[in-house]
């Protein structure tokens, strides 16, 4: 029950930091769009570029998250949160933001599908197939792993004593 509650709150917390939340969602939206588009094109080089980009974005996001939340992590440790609880909070935030970016891609694609009836010649290349979208989701999720590991490693290093140092 506690873990589920922390995941729920992590979503809430991520949406309240709009300065970080909106750009991160947009980045993930662009990433999943790029991956789906290049998979559909069948260009391995561009797909690889997208995967590398995704890994970089996710790692940077994991770093930013653990950096900006450092004092909060120390405070949470002081009030009785364990490392695993804090990891869950970070995972929830990272996964929610990345999946929301993916959902935004789906949403845009559905609209393109609707409009493509009128502009078929131009827009049909942007209507993604099921496999392209599926692989894009897989890339978005897998790309989070280094970001999550980095965030967790940095969380472990934060000592609760930091909270008292102001």
């Amino acid at each position: 029950m506690g873990n589920f509650r922390i995941l729920k709150k992590s979503i809430l917390m991520s949406t309240r930091v709009k300065k970080r939340f909106i750009p991160a969602v947009l980045f993930y939206c662009i990433l999943s769009w790029w991956v789906a588009f290049t998979i559909q094109l069948g260009d391995t080089f561009l797909v690889t570029l997208g995967i590398i980009g995704g890994l970089i974005i996710a790692t940077v996001y994991g770093f930013i998250l653990s950096q900006f939340r450092k004092a909060q992590i120390a405070t949470l440790k002081c009030i009785g949160w364990g490392n695993s609880n804090i990891l869950l909070l970070l995972i929830g935030e990272i996964l929610f933001v990345s999946l929301l970016g993916y959902v935004l891609t789906l949403e845009i694609d559905i609209h393109i599908l609707g409009v493509s009836t009128y502009f078929e010649d131009i827009l049909i290349q942007f209507v993604f197939s099921g496999p392209a979208l599926g692989l894009s989701l897989l890339v978005v999720i897998i790309a989070q792993i280094p970001g999550i590991i980095l965030a967790y490693w940095r969380t472990l290093k934060v000592r609760p004593i930091v909270a008292l140092k102001g």
Binding site: M1, V17, T75, C78, I79
Partner: protein
Amino acid sequence: MTQKVPIIIAENVSKEYRRGREIVKALVKVNLEIYEGERVCFFGPSGSGKTTLLNVLSGLDQPTSGRVILDGSDTRELDERIFPKIRREKIGFIFQDFNLIPDLTVIENVSSPLWPTDMKSKKIEELAISVLREVDMIDRKDHLPRQLSGGEQQRTAIARALITRPKILFADEPTGNLDSKTGLEIMNLLKKINANDKTTIVVVTHDENLLKFANRVFEVVDGKISLSKRGQ
């Protein structure tokens, strides 16, 4: 006559830091006992070692030598798997900078220590409301910390520390960022909590005005402590 039960025992506690090539002796062979239900103040100038003492007594930091017994447990034997539970159940912290989570409302901040537990959310909310009433913050429960004054933020932080009904409250310069009137209100609130719940309160301060709230005052100078006559 009721017997005094020590809840914190420090035995020959020393703490040294390395600053470049120099070794700084932050605490020198500190011996003390703090009893259940006491209000204790550690008073001293900046750099005297009082915050180090609070860190060591609360288990946030380990002494270089000597030992601290916190409610029957030697802090050296508590690892990072057991300590979170002890912090949650036995200890509350009040910080000079309040340390509220800025993205959470007052009621969310107050209930956050109980989120990792198996307690039902409804029960947690009831407890949070109850402590918010106690610190007179119920009307502000849906506000974010940035919408609160310093005194309100500190009252929220106290409510957060109280929700688990800890045996000991550690406060590091709890009025340091407040004006004197608000500081006085906060100290009266802590005194009320101590009287109602018999919570042991350990305050670190450099503010002489706070000393009258303590049963015992220890002066900290160059890492050494001595009992002062300035307590009640």
